[in-house]
Subunit: 149 residues, 2 copies
DNA sequence: TTCATTTTGGTCAAAGAAAGTCAAAATTCA
DNA sequence: TGAATTTTGACTTTCTTTGACCAAAATGAA
């Protein structure tokens, strides 16, 4: 487990304690974990993206900060939001991230999440022509979510 | 008995000890058995496939890993039977019938059944060429069931 | 006020660290 | 022997770490 995971874990714990909002300083955190400051940005973008249910705001200059807010919407709104945000095509990593997020938020069950992912995985779409796979994946994904609303 | 069998045996033993889940590093394992790393992938795909009752997840990059999970069977055998009875292609009415059956039997939840059907419905597969739709439907159906095992 | 300085955080690309893919070569099996 | 399985390795993709350079906000001096 690398540094990024450690940092992410630390932040998540702090978020628990502070009940969903957390303000910290990039250089502080970097020092605490003995890493370069830009690594904090990496952690933010890979593990605290809006896709994953977080809002990250920041401010530079003296007294600058990074503020992380965990957002939790109700099931239906969340599902609708996700459905509407889906484009005409969808790649597998994105599908995974979205499904994970939905499960984490309790919008869909773990079983439903797994089902969803296996329905859009490579093995499931292998008979589909390469060039239309993204489109089919998006359609299947959407249909499943729509029926789960 | 080749190296692949040795590796598979080693993993199975480790799975016993660790009670069904095991996380390891591909290059470590390769070194331990004095083989090329990609051999591990071969072992995974030939001996730890979902069809054989395992789920294999992995992650690349620094701190990467391969995680093997053994899924215990029970109603699983029932699902396996259904999976094995499926052909290369599947029409929608049959899909409906089978899903209904599985739900009635309590092999899968109602939610999973609905999800399954929406994943193989016409709306979900509209982007797929007519002639390969049956094949894709069969694949999706199978994959979902396999991962529900 | 205006502007230079300082204090933060942001971006991006290169280097590094795993794992994945694919097909040829080798081996085993029927 | 011929087909199936296994072994290898060259090449690819994904994720992480690092560092040089950039941009904005605060602060203090002129």
């Amino acid at each position: 487990m690398g540094i990024s995971d450690l940092i992410a874990g630390f932040i998540q714990e702090a978020l628990e304690d502070s009940d969903g909002v957390l303000e910290l300083q990039r250089s502080d955190l970097a020092q605490r974990f003995n890493c370069v400051p830009s690594q904090i940005n990496y952690v933010m973008s890979t593990r605290f993206s809006p896709e994953q249910g977080y809002i990250v705001e920041s401010r530079r200059g003296g007294g600058g900060y990074i503020r992380i807010t965990r957002v939790r919407a109700d099931r239906e709104t969340l599902l609708m939001h996700v459905i509407n945000s889906l484009g005409d095509t969808l790649d597998l990593p994105s599908a995974r991230a979205i499904a994970q997020n939905l499960v984490d938020n309790g919008a869909i069950s773990l079983e439903a999440g797994r089902t969803l992912l296996s329905a859009v995985g490579d093995a499931a779409l292998r008979a589909a022509p390469r060039e239309s796979r993204g489109a089919i994946r998006a359609d299947v994904f959407k249909q499943v979510l729509i029926h789960l609303v």
